[in-house]
Structure formats: C-alpha cells, structure tokens
Symmetry: C2
Subunit: 245 residues, 2 copies
Amino acid sequence: MGRQAAAPESRKLSAGETAEDARTHILDAAEALFENEGYRAASVRAITAKAGVNLAAINYYFGNKEALLEAVCQRRLGPLNEARLRKLKEIRAGARRVGRKVELQPVLRAFMAPALLLKESGGSAAGFPALFGRALADPDDTVQRIIFKMMKPVHQLMLEMMGEALPGVSREEVFWRYQFVIGAMARATRVYKNPRFRGAGLEDPGPEGGVNTLIDRLVSFTLAGAQAAPGMNIKCKKNSAPESI
Amino acid sequence: MGRQAAAPESRKLSAGETAEDARTHILDAAEALFENEGYRAASVRAITAKAGVNLAAINYYFGNKEALLEAVCQRRLGPLNEARLRKLKEIRAGARRVGRKVELQPVLRAFMAPALLLKESGGSAAGFPALFGRALADPDDTVQRIIFKMMKPVHQLMLEMMGEALPGVSREEVFWRYQFVIGAMARATRVYKNPRFRGAGLEDPGPEGGVNTLIDRLVSFTLAGAQAAPGMNIKCKKNSAPESI
DNA sequence: AACAGTTTTAAACGATTGTATTAAACGGAG
DNA sequence: CTCCGTTTAATACAATCGTTTAAAACTGTT
C-alpha cells in the first residue's frame, strides 16, 4: 500500500496537459485490451505498451490494475447510466403527468439504446459495449463487484418501472423477464460487428445494418417477450395443429 | 509436445478402475472451477488439488490445460447437442409428415430445455450450464474456438428451422432473433440459483421456482420475441400520447 | 519372485504476472 | 540558475502460471 493515492490532485498543469494525456492513453489502451482479451488476460505490460507509457504508469496513476478497470468502466458507464436514469425518470414523469401507467416500450428503449449507440460513436468508446457485455458474464469476482455496484441504481429503477408497466405480473416474473432483456442485449453487444460471426448465416451487413436497426430489433424482440402471457406454451405440443398462420 | 498422446489406450484395467476415476475426478474438479473462476483463472494446481490428484495428472491424462477444457465441454455438450439435434430433427420430420411448416415453439424448447435440465441433474453436471453460459462470452480465444466448433451443427439447424418457422422473415432478421434467444438463455443459466442474485428483487425461490418454470418462462419470452412483428416500434416517441393502454 | 507397463510422485523449469523501488528527467516558480 | 514537486524510467521483487522431467510406486502377468 506504500504510495497510497499518489494520483495527481493538484491539477495545475497548463502547457501540454501531458499527465491527462497519459491517463487517457492508458484508459483507451486498457479499454481496447479488456474488450479483446478480458480483464485477467490483458496484462499491465500489454496495456502500458499499447498506451506508449512506462510499465509503472498504471500503478502511478490508478494505484493498481483493479482500480484501472473501475476507471475504465466508470468513464463510460457513468455517463451512460446517467443518461439511462434521466430518460427513465422522464418517462415516468410523463406518465404521471397524464395519470397513466408507464409504457413498456420506451422503458426498454431507454435501457438499451444508450448502450448500443456507443457502438457508432467513432471514438474509442465504440468498444465499450462489447467489453461490458463480456463483463456481465465475467467469472472474475473483481469484475462482478464493479459492474454490480455501478448498475444497481439502473437495475432497481428498471425492475420498478417494468413492474409498473406489467400489471398483474409477479415480481419474480418481472425479474426474470428483465434478466432475459439483459441477456439479449449483452449478446447483441458482443455479436454486433464481431468478425467472428461474419458469414455465420449473416451474409451482408444488409442495407440497414446500422445500430439503429439493431436497437429496433432488440426493442421489438424484448417488448414482445416481456409482454408475453406466461405459461401459454406448456403442454400443447402434440394435439394442436402445427401452425395457425 | 514430448509425450504426445500419453493417455492410456490399452484400456485393460479391471480391478479398481483407478485410472478412469482419476480422469473423472479431474473433469469434475475442472468443471466446478471453470464455472466459478473461469478458464484462465482456474489454475491446474487448483484443479488437481480439488481433484485430489498430483499436479502432473492433467498433462498426463489430457496433454495440456486446453485439451482438458475441451474434454470438460465435450463430456456435457456432446450428449446435450445430440439430444438437441435428435429432437429438432424429430420435430422437422413430424412437420414434414403432415405437410406443414415447422412450428417455432417446440424448436425453441428443444434448444433450451436440454441445457437447463442439466441444472437439476443432481450430479456434477448441474454446474455446466452456467459454465457454458460464461464460455459464450469468454474473451479467451481458446474457449471461443472450442465452443464454436461444438455448437456449429446446432446453430446451423436452428437457423434453418427458425427460418422455416418464420416465413417472410429475412435471414439476417432470423439470425439476430436467434442471437437474442441465445443471450436470454445464457443469462438464465448464469443467474438461476446464483447466490449473487438472491434478494436482488427476487425474494423467494417461489412456490414454483424449479427449472421447469424457468424453461417455460424462457420459451414464453423468446417465442413471443421471435414472432414479434419487426419495426413496429420505430419513431413513435414524441408526438404520440405517452401511453395507449 | 521377477518382469513390463501404467500411474503417481516430488521437484524443477522458464515464462509471465502485478507491484514496488529507486533514480533520472522534466518544468514552472523563486 | 536553483529548487521542488511531478512525471517517467529502468529494474527488481516475490508469486504464480503451465509444463516437463525422472524416479518411485503400483498393477497384473508370467
């Protein structure tokens, strides 16, 4: 714990802002490597090499590798979750104003769109959704704790508003439908524009292969799924006709 | 590469079957540790210690750690995918027999049920679905290659049959809906019975908290999602009334 | 009992990991 | 210029990684 909090706090750089540059370069390199290799596999040596800084720079600026991961996530997930919460509360306020219950579709869109829109934000942020999609399933406890802490307010509000939008559906049922939404979105962030899936049934990006199309598909899928009547599909495999339409 | 294929091939053990026991103990320990720690983080020392065998046993029986992961996956995913393919072909044959198109609901059930049913198969296999759910998002290339190779036949048949069950839906659209199905299922395998999510909006396991309930929820959600009309939810955010129902 | 093949053991290998240390280079203020 | 706080640099550290080696222990057969 020797040099605790050695990060610069005086902030009186003026000329080249080199310190802020180094931090940013490290964050960018770490984001890219965490996305492609995972948290554990991305070594501090690889990160510092890619960032063009010295090996010790990570410990100097962030303390340790775990704090770096937290900073990487915070940089993107902070504004992203703020946008989500703002939009969700806006939706709820709008519904209150006209004395109606919250509508499910804009809620799902408010949750998913900000994340996927990062994908076409030219800069280095484009890689974060995939990184986050990975992190959701990362076995590392460090990753899980960081993600869970940052997502908790969003999770709570989403569960509350989905519950309101789905009257008569039990809390447990709402919980699971929200999990399915998360799963579908997380999968999308990892598959979209991933060269591994090129040609695996997906020939061209298509005439409308942009992120907006993907968001529409996700919202359409999860909206119908979350509104589905439960238990309709139990034990009707043999006697009924195969299709109706 | 020194001792290539040093695995026992003569198979003339008779008394205690100790060799097969060691292999099985290693597979069980590796399965549990891969599930909880991930492929990279689960060291061969931890695996062999948990299995109660010598450190060198993994290299002796499997060659290296990567081959061990492949064996772990093969042991569960082999029979599992066989069951899936058998059921899917059965469904298709049944549809052909009556001259109709394949129905989507049994297709989704045939894909998801065998995997989730492992969760309540008392033995060590119960941990595999979560392991597989993780592996789907694992950043490690080794993991991805193994999973992709084993899943390819299932993926191909699923895409084909979902395409048949969804006439008029483009191949690209079918591809994405299948990805959403995979994502929802993968998320379910990792959340179900995970102590981390206990109390996060899910108070009790509920009176019907078994795997069958989860499967029904998944099938219900993904069936409605995959059958949803696409693009219905575009551009209706501002001018229309906040809610209609 | 002596042998041959299989399995288990203890020890060590080189490589890589995250972090700590210590000194050198930098840059504006006095 | 000199000084001082900040940043960079090279190097070393202990720990752990997957794998290899060679000898010991065990097995059933002759």
